[in-house]
């Protein structure tokens, strides 16, 4: 349970990501990122790790998290209190953008599309790299986003997974300190070659 481990973490510089007030602020940033897809939103600061802050804010003992590349230490998992699950069955998937997933995450069902997974994708940068032109809900006219360190096949996979609305996955792109979100409703066209 997150709250229970606060003392154990006092030593670490990043302990405050377990604080309710910190998570509230982080959630508001995430909600902005979901509301305005493709906008780069500052999230973590200083010693905080952005992907841990995202997970601490959104996940707990009520959810399962898949971490196919073992990006988290067992201590991290214990502090989150989250259940470890497989990619196909978990609400949350944490993965590096460099490589693609072998299997599809949960896409939800026609009756319960909210069961489609939230994928937290680690990227090298959100201000350089592949140029994405975005349209869809949350975008007034169109929105440009540059993403570095993501295997081009990711975008192919994503469009397959999101082919049948309302089914699909929602992507949180996480750089060192910033996030940008691509919900299942966002349509991507590529500007120039990459």
């Amino acid at each position: 349970m997150n709250e229970a481990l606060i003392p154990a973490l006092q030593a670490e510089a990043a302990w405050c990501i377990w604080q309710p007030s910190r998570q509230q602020a982080a959630f508001r940033q995430l909600m902005t990122a979901f509301s305005y897809p493709g906008r780069v939103v500052p999230l973590a600061s200083g010693a905080e790790s952005a992907h841990m802050l995202v997970l601490a804010t959104l996940s707990d003992s009520a959810c399962a998290l898949a971490d196919p590349q073992r990006l988290l230490s067992s201590d991290d998992m214990r502090r989150l209190g989250v259940r470890a699950g497989s990619v196909e069955t978990s609400e949350f998937v944490l993965t590096a953008g460099g490589c693609t997933l072998e299997v599809s995450p949960r896409l939800g069902s026609l009756e319960n599309p909210e069961q489609g997974a939230t994928v937290i994708l680690q990227v090298s940068s959100l201000d350089a790299g592949t140029q994405l032109q975005l349209t869809g809900p949350g975008i007034a006219s169109d929105q440009l986003l540059q993403v570095g360190g993501v295997d081009p096949n990711w975008w192919k996979q994503r469009s397959e997974w999101n082919g049948h609305f309302p089914l699909g996955v929602d992507l949180i792109l996480v750089a060192k300190h910033e996030v940008a979100v691509l919900p299942r409703t966002t349509h991507i066209t590529f500007k120039g070659a990459h």
Partner: protein, 301 residues
């Protein structure tokens, strides 16, 4: 309890935002899915709040899961900040969320919780509107089984609802739905926009601000994301119509207090039985009156 038991008064303090952190985290997860699937009624485990079901417990759980230090909250009911229910909800948030500011001015608010109205003053990207919802599902009128309704929603199949509207027209030569007007979001899900008047429905369309709708009793949260299409159901020959405030002489009625001819009006009956018309949005009305007072002073100077 054991004879020696004493209530833990030292441990009994309510935590910030009343709800425990697990409850908030679940509401937050639900909100993000609701934004990702515009108009979809996302289920969540609604908690009991210290006010009655139907008093805005759904909207309140959303507000309490969002709010933090640095936020400025506006709460309105029937458009008025000082309507009894609005006062009650605002007081509760002030009580359980130390460090949060409250305001009556739409422009100053970062979070606006409302029952039955959308403020007249256009919302901005810096604001979130939270609407309290008594009945979330527009399909209830044509399909009692929730299991079947969920399939119809998923397929975006609203033929039976349109038929119902059409029967209206045949009978009354007019769509008789007064408020809670079924509205299609981003061309897929049709929502019940909560009991706002038809007058407010156009404000859902391409709004710069995120709009969240919370139904506590029915345990559902749904969203109209910013810059998203919101089309009230209608027919080519019988268009969607907002409330008509045309007076006897065919002119648009004006608020008798601030003179506005571009606001939703409340019809009041005075003691003498005579009818009067006032803005339902008290902040809009007050700020217009204040503005006129300033102008008056300037002209004297």
């Amino acid at each position: 309890m054991n004879p020696g038991y004493e209530l833990p008064l030292d441990e009994a303090g309510y935590s910030f935002g009343f709800l425990d952190e697990y409850a908030k985290r679940e509401v937050r997860r639900t909100i993000l899915k609701a934004i990702s699937i515009p108009g979809y009624q996302t289920p969540y485990a609604s908690r009991e709040m210290p006010m009655g079901r139907g008093f805005g417990t759904g909207g309140l759980q959303v507000t309490l899961s969002l709010i933090g230090k640095g936020d400025t909250l506006k709460v309105i009911d029937q458009g008025a900040d000082d309507s009894v229910n609005a006062v009650n909800l605002r007081h509760f948030v002030e009580l359980t969320c130390p460090g949060v500011d409250t305001t009556e001015h739409t422009a100053e608010a970062t979070l606006i919780q409302s029952r039955h109205r959308i403020p007249e003053t256009p919302l901005t990207e810096a604001q979130v509107l939270i609407l309290q919802v008594p009945y979330p599902d527009p399909l209830v009128v044509v399909e009692p089984s929730e299991a079947r309704r969920k399939v119809m929603h998923g397929e975006g199949d609203y033929s039976r609802l349109l038929t119902k509207l059409y029967e209206d027209i045949v009978q009354f030569d007019e769509i008789t739905i007064s408020h809670r007007y079924p509205t299609r979001i981003n061309g897929h899900y049709v929502i019940d926009p909560s009991p706002i008047p038809r007058y407010d429905v156009p404000q859902l369309h391409q709004s710069p601000a995120l709009i969240l709708l919370g139904a506590g009793r029915e345990k559902k949260i749904y969203a109209v994301p910013p810059y998203t299409r919101a089309d009230p159901l209608a027919f080519d020959d019988v268009p969607f119509r907002t409330e008509d405030f045309t007076g006897e002489q065919g002119q648009r009625r004006a608020c008798e207090r601030c003179g506005a001819t571009d606001s939703f009006l409340d019809e009041l009956i005075a003691d003498d039985g005579g009818k009067h018309w006032h803005c339902s949005d008290s902040d809009y009305c007050n700020s217009r009156v204040a503005g006129q007072a300033e102008q008056a002073q300037e002209t004297w100077a």
